[in-house]
Symmetry: D3
Subunit: 318 residues, 6 copies
């Protein structure tokens, strides 16, 4: 089967793909003809595709976010590859393919990621902090198993958010060992809470963010998480004025570091400073790793990375 | 009695003043002598003052934020006026002076301001919005009668915050009449809630902010107010996900307009856009009015105003 | 008749529209065929349109900024609607349609707007200020009845500039009553003069700005208006050094507030500070109101508004 | 006679100096004593000075901007030199000293500078441009012989403005020869007009700016010069709409290049672009030259230069 | 022969052009047909072109950066001209045309430019400085005869870099005469060295930059030139710590003036300040001159110039 | 012995201190008296001190950067502590104190730090990279044992630079294990080289930076290190164009990440991105740790930290 990343012009192929988008459109001919305009994807990338002579059955049966079997030829349109579909049909059980094979995913399974997160919560020694964290995680537990961490910036794939958390927890563990004056409970809680509201801020399917929610636009995940901590404390009977509640809210509110990046306050505790830098280190390194992986093996330079001053990365041979 | 704003060099005077600060210090003489280093103020301004030969009784009896009767002479020190105190004593009932005469205050009495605010709350037609607003106001009702709106920027005097609210409510009323598509409930609630957490963010006495609270520094009044709305909704049994709760939180969170000014989200409803501009209009006009009033009558230019690009204002004769 | 804002794909329609642009182009066929490429508009919006088989008569008779009767069908081209024209002809008197029905206009008639402006001029009590204002208004009186206030930013429609002035005068009136230390003559004159040179800065027809004039680009409306006040004073025999002339020029020069927004000086009088905020309040609120009105009724979010940090507005149901 | 730049601690000296500032102050002693607090200057720099036992005659006779003969000793106060005055008296004719020897001046005499400017005006071939330039120069002719070009930034000394003009005219001449497509009339007129209103923007005496005028603050020299060109054209009967008037105003308005540096429009003609760079080149090179000259000969580094990113200049020995 | 800048729609023409780009593409027809998609250019500009029925011989024989003879017709595609090719063939000797006629070039021949640079090097009086400059020039001597100074910003044509150097040397000469305190050796060396590494930073052919080199991206021409000076000094046995080596490196490192423009240090010698302004003056004036020349004679405004705040230039008739 | 950090007003004490600065000054008395103006320090902080009646012997014997025994009393001057010295003498061997006890130092001994660095160099597997690193370290080996990492920003104490390197090496090790696609040789070499030129950029004694060197100001440590790598490669016979040399120079040049922070290029390899974030993480965490340690134990807030948006850190009790 031909991976989308490896398709070359004029190649004919047969394979299974995920329909990311599909729309019925009309040509400019007189009388106009209807055709299907699709975006196909697999774990390696995506490509536009056209079914020029779409039968009524085709128009009925092809839906977004479903798998199809396609026979087609790769053409070049405006210097970018485009598939001309010869035959297309929905897959069935006999094909033995499943959705998650066709999307980009974190390199660790969602189950393992969630287990790690759950076990770290258990390591939090202060019971108030532990139960507040557990309360907030419970709010998004279903989505945490598959949500990406962002729309495009970093970890933008299936289970990307949980993967980001787990990697940050590894860095956090190292840092608490290197600098014992840091409070490990706050570091762990901060890592798990800082982006915890993202699944309610964004609308995503199969790891792909399609929009932001109304609440996400009007409040943002930072203030949402702060409100959730308030809600958790009230529900769990923890004093809203207690230092530990304020410290958790402070870490969440300050984790983007600067006002222009969305934080209403700047880090003012050791753990808040640490969290911002752990977050930044993990996000940037993942952007680099993902960009190098997405680039074809023979390419010396990746595509420009928005979160890194729009710079491309050089794949050295050293 | 000599107003501080009108003191001229070499003038001798007797009068009542408020002790804003007082400290016992030592001269460099051998052996060193102790003296009292004070800041005196009245409603017209403030001036540094020295009591060079402080008796033990003086050191005992003079305290900050209390009224004193002073006989002194105005000297010039580093080109700024400084009072050399000849005699000083605490005031007593017989003097017939009261603290609030000696501090800068809003031009309307706290009682009238609070009554206006309370009556506007009653005009909010939606009962959920009305009770959320009332809940939050109740949290700071005592302080609202005397807190300033800011440390230095604007309305930095006794009852300045309530005065700012009331003036904004007047503008809000006008604007709702001029542009009926605006929702008057949201405008009123937004005006009352936008700075409602300031009395807990700042530490103030007699209208003078001396510091920010720990909570104020770690969370800021914007996020504090957002949390309070969450708390109000839970306490009052109002759905946290309801549009009205989100709209109130959105107005509060966005009222500084830009991230670099402390708002984690930007205004995205008509009322949030309106609130930001009402706030800005009232604050800037008050800065101008206060600066012109503080400047001596013969001065053509006020001192530079920080919130207005550090520009001085010209007092025209037109 | 089908409003452009309400056109839906595959719909056939007959109606009157304004030709905003028209050009003769060639297809890529061999031999190439000529067709008409148009932009049609009405008060609700605009849409591209093609007349694939244009007769010589069509090419002769269809001109920009004229009304046509069209029979066509709505197609989708690159996911945006496009009209395929079946029949088209110029309108005639018998059709009973007039240009101004087909363009976006201020909600108040130009006559009423100009009458308001004229009557406010009469309310200016200082005769020098009054005649300077009248002199400048006379320079653009014809254009003031139909010019927009800007190319795209705000009030970008027929009589938008006069409407902006009148609404600002309402706010100015309110503010002078709320803060009597403001000089009403300067506020009124400032409002009328601040954008008075825009009709000479921009080239517009039917409320649509097509370009900036050479003078507009080289001087800008701010400096043009300052020069006009100089010209008015010389013509009317008013001392160029008099405070009132300087105050008027200062208000005009400073009304964009910051250098990066085009003002060579920052506001330094109470009235100049007020004018900037009145201008800003009216412009921003109108952007919001217009964006909500332009969005289809079922849309929760408007298109992004450039003048408001490129944010879309949420149409709440509260 | 000891130059101020060369004074060293504990040195005793007798010499003539200019009194830049003088004030009667009181010591903190009981009873306080009056003393004279002065700033003395000569062409090489300035120094604070104290006359501890000032006689009534001293207090009467010493005035700012007058010459005095001083016997004193150099002390160190807060690590900076300060003169303790032993004897002081006003100079008289017999001393044979004149004010202009004691101030920093352009290295060319005012007469020569003005003659150069006048002769360049005569070289302008277009008579309208020539008479407009002459009209504006006439407005400030007296002040042009001695005004500085700025308060501190550059050419901040006697006749600095005229010197700046003349040096720019030299560069302009070179550039017109190197790039003949430039219009020499516009370059010459632009150079003479661009800062022509500075003498009315600033209040200066002996080359020292003490303040900005009211008009200078409210309009700024850029808009003032634009208004003057309008006034000149009206007075001389030149069409206000003619291209040549607009081009002159454009050069003046755009010469600070960016809005944040005070220009309401950006350069949009070849000559306007050239003028900005000629202005910048001359101002920056003069800052460097003046800083190197002011620094003591043995100093490797000058004091930081504000207009050059606050960098000190290294005096190399190459 | 028809110059590309003068082509008008529907015009038929025969002429010689340079093939800037060529690619074989497929139409969307069924079965798809192959066609040649080209960009043709001459010294006056460039235009896209299509050869719809490309023979196998055409596909073989047409290569980028070679000359062709073309018979074609000018069409309009998306409002921009596009050539439909009727006949095309490679040129041969008999045609008597040569590559350099068809590209944009500096107005002075490469030989003359290089001779000027070589003779200026001989004028450098300090032998260490002279040999360091010569060493660095030798590294890029071949490329210096034809490389542009930049990809798009300025002097983006054949021999543009050498032309930029020579014009700067003229300005440098003038400035050293006007301000004799400047060291002429450093000015000359600085001008020749400041962009000397550009030919290794960029990949260019016939004056057109197609990419940046790997070294260019990772180090940049500023640090490359600094390294070359180190290499030169070691090779030539000149002390790396000597002031002259540091001064040359400082001029190179600081010539972009600000960190955000790529300079790791800011100018801190008179010559470094001068160099930055000479560079800027020459680059900006050339942008203006080139833009005016590229614009059709009847156009009042050039296209916007990126390096000049994206402003178009007005071609006045004065 | 009384630590400077713990001194309280009016306390009398005897102890050993380091003289950080000392100067002979004169009082304003008539005749003026000479006194010694000192800054004393120990490992806990520093304090100004005065010896009012300095004997000639005192003036002779007290020198900066030497140890003294002091008997004194703590006074308050302008609200900050100041020591009035009663008796002072130089220390002698019998006192048994040594300089390094009295200065702020890294918490690990210089010997251990240097050993770690040397052993990490041995772990670099590529011999070219290893010898280049060793070459550069050798240039500053003496200074590396005691230089601070910066003047004030972070690690501003004895052996601070080596401590910063070693801590970064720990983080680098962790990161290479967490993300094996990173090249450990480049990470180690990058960490050791990135600030390697700082000891030549700054002038420091006992961990205190007193100035920047001429070379440091004109080139900066970033370009100096790049030049050193060039020098190392030439000396060691390694190809200057080899990828490994470029990669090392790229890491060094880009490690400040942005142009405005001093990097002429932005990170464009995985290791360069990693290095910047490792550097930032270690520097910021150390700022926090040092600030908390310097603050008196009872203080809830540290002094503001410049490198952290000038925010003070809250010392929580959680």
């Amino acid at each position: 089967m031909t991976l989308i990343r490896s398709m070359s012009t004029n190649e004919e192929f047969i394979g299974y793909y995920l329909v990311k988008e599909v729309e019925i459109k009309q040509t400019n001919a007189t009388p106009p003809k209807e055709y299907l305009d699709l975006v196909l994807c697999d774990a390696s990338g995506q490509v536009p595709a056209k079914l020029w002579d779409a039968s009524p059955a085709d128009k009925e049966s092809i839906h977004p976010m479903e798998l199809v079997k396609v026979q087609g030829v790769v053409q070049s349109y405006r210097e970018r590859p485009q598939v001309k579909i010869m035959r297309i049909r929905k897959t069935n059980e006999a094909d033995g393919v499943s959705l998650t094979e066709f999307i980009r995913s974190a390199p660790v399974s969602p189950e393992d990621l969630l287990n790690t997160i759950r076990s770290v919560i258990q390591q939090i020694s202060d019971s108030d902090v532990r139960t507040i964290v557990a309360f907030c995680v419970r709010k998004v537990e279903d989505k945490l198993s598959h949500y990406p961490a962002a729309k495009m910036h970093h970890h933008a794939y299936f289970a990307g958010l949980a993967y980001h958390m787990v990697r940050m927890l590894e860095i956090g563990d190292f840092l608490c060992r290197q600098r014992p004056f840091l409070n490990a409970d706050l570091i762990r809680a901060g890592i798990i809470l800082h982006d915890i509201a993202k699944p309610e801020e964004m609308v995503a399917q199969l790891g792909i963010v399609t929009d932001y929610s109304m609440q996400g636009k009007l409040l943002g995940h930072i203030s949402m998480a702060s409100n959730w901590i308030t809600e958790a404390a009230i529900t769990l009977g923890i004093d809203l004025q207690s230092e530990k509640v304020l410290l958790l809210q402070h870490i969440v509110l300050s984790h983007h570091n600067l006002g222009e990046w969305g934080s209403p306050v700047q880090p003012q505790t050791a753990e808040a400073v640490a969290l911002h830098h752990i977050d930044s280190l993990d996000a940037k390194m993942q952007m680099v790793e993902d960009a190098l992986e997405s680039a074809a093996a023979h390419e010396e330079w990746t595509t420009p990375i928005r979160g890194l001053e729009n710079k491309a990365m050089y794949r050295h041979k050293f």
